[in-house]
Symmetry: C3
Subunit: 265 residues, 3 copies
């Protein structure tokens, strides 16, 4: 775990290019902006080359795209590879919608992803393992989540984050599990999308160590949510969303270190 | 009034497919998620069949669509009919913009809507009754709102919700009026959009009784807003929006029963 | 400075048509709605004529547009000229992305803009002056910001607002500088977008005095942010965003007059 990446992120203020999900785009932009990165969003392929070049990392969200946007997503991923920018993909609802799964798997043929961030249903679908996903939610399955994450990482030659009550981060062999967090993340739509772009922000300052970036991003984000939840008088999803932005700005390395609960294996 | 639908909604956690207004999409998703449903949004016609099939209800928002999206809206409505899923339409600004009214009326030829939810200006336009709408707002008119709602329901063979200081819900003959609410709803853009998707969530668990679903949805939503407003020290639209999400998650059947003010006729 | 425009805005509740940035659209709609205007958003060229006609002002945001949307933006700007509606343009990231700058400069050939609102990097790009912009942020430059704003205003024959810690408003000759504000605006993505639409709302009630509208809009908006920041216990970007909407609704002419700090030259 490299907590010093948080200070580096704030010092460098990396530009993170997001091909974003229109459902959650503003919240994602505000989340990484509050944390200390500089978000830029785009839907126009004509500016993809320039935007990838100026960015420190690229986050592709596969939620709610059209065929037209798909060409943009593909091009942006290819450009990220070409310019050696860290590339993060969030495969929204690929576990529930066959069309989305097929699109995601094709994209992974077109470019090399560095980090995938999804829930159990999404990661299982990308690993080719049976799982009962439900819409945008993880759903239920009987498989071993660690094994699922490892299988997806090996299949796609990348780091995988399987988000949930415990976040599982793996490069296919090594596994880190982050136990911090709060059920309130589930009550706020777009928490996962925001985490994916936070991961991109950490990847931008990681010097190419995407496994470290993924772990640290999960730990910082989960800790921020946990700190907010501790102060709330109840399950308040709207108040949580506002205060999560506050905490992403305020949280320090010392705050994270104090409440961190994770295992490395 | 079937308040037990609220408990059923939370127990069943129905997937609600939203073809949404890009202006308010995140707030709508968070609203029905906080209440206890599972939102999914889409802009891609290629996944419409799969998404309608997996959903418990479909909400079509006619705010801010393009011609391309219109094909998607039409197809999704037809699929909702085909798979016998409850279909809710929010005809944003059809009272103010002739183009939007014409599109909405054509759509009602293409598929059978189950519930329409609009303000006075919007419902009047769909009933073919003169009214002075103003942009996205209801505007002013001298007509009898109950008669307007009944006329729209009879014309389109569906349940109609005419939202306002008092919500009027009718199947064309029977009328329920919900007096709960707060002027703060008007100060938060997208309150109506959110209500429309809340109606869809209730319709998904109503066993086909859309008149009951519409009434209960309006009562629960208006009561949540009223409870939030009671606790605010003033007219605070931003704080209201956050706390409305909190209350949609917290509100109980008992809370609603205690402050409910409605008439049935 | 014409603070009475705030009361006029609330009395007239002008419709403001926004061709908006999908990243920040809901926040912008809520901001001008809270202030006292009536927002309407659109992405469909078929309704552009009707929407421009019914509006009191038009705000075009050049953040995150596609080529398809560009045709809509161009048409809407031309219609604003044709119907003599005040036309405000927010040239998002034209300082950082050549494609966006070229598009903006072409648009200024197609229609006559009345007010441009951007940060230093954006305004410098439109003035043809070198500046080191960074993504959506202003970046750093050594030029005289007042001279840059004046050059842009002269070049495009319009009022220019160069936003920053101090807002510079100029008609090319006269200059007003508003010193109110808070660094929290930078921590909330879309503060600039919201200001641009607030400027449009003031322009709608200004009787054609766009220089006065621009000044007053900046002063009211900056004062609202400053008042919110004064009450916060720290740098809380999420809480700030919610309370900014509250304050835009609550702020009075007297509140603004009491804290106003500006110079006219």
């Amino acid at each position: 775990m490299q907590l010093e990446l948080l200070a580096q992120l704030r010092a460098q203020n990396p530009i993170v290019l997001n091909i974003s999900n229109f459902v959650t785009v503003q919240d994602v932009a505000n989340g990484i902006n509050a944390l200390g990165a500089s978000p830029i969003m785009s839907e126009e392929i004509a500016e993809a080359d320039a935007l990838v070049q100026m960015s420190g990392a690229v986050a592709l969200n596969l939620g709610a795209f059209t065929k037209q946007q798909l060409a943009h997503i593909k091009k942006t991923g290819e450009l990220a590879n070409q310019y050696h920018k860290p590339l993060i993909v969030d495969p929204v609802a690929v576990g529930a919608v066959t069309y989305r799964r097929d699109v995601a798997l094709q994209l992974f043929e077109d470019f090399q992803v560095d980090i995938i961030r999804g829930n159990a249903g999404e990661v299982a679908a990308l690993a080719g393992i049976a799982w009962q996903a439900k819409g945008i939610d993880a759903g239920e399955g009987s498989g071993d989540k660690v094994a699922i994450a490892q299988a997806a990482a090996k299949r796609h030659h990348c780091v995988v984050i399987l988000s949930g009550a415990t976040d599982i981060i793996t490069d296919g062999t090594q596994v880190v599990q982050v136990a911090n967090g709060t059920p309130l993340f589930q009550l706020h739509v777009g928490s996962g999308d925001m985490l994916s772009s936070v991961v991109a922000a950490f990847a931008a300052v990681s010097g190419g160590d995407y496994f470290a970036a993924a772990q640290t991003a999960c730990l910082v984000f989960a800790s921020a949510g946990e700190l907010v939840a501790q102060e709330l008088p109840g399950e308040l999803p709207g108040t949580f969303a506002a205060k999560l932005l506050d905490e992403l700005h305020l949280i320090t390395t010392a705050d994270v270190a104090q409440i961190a609960r994770y295992t490395e294996a």
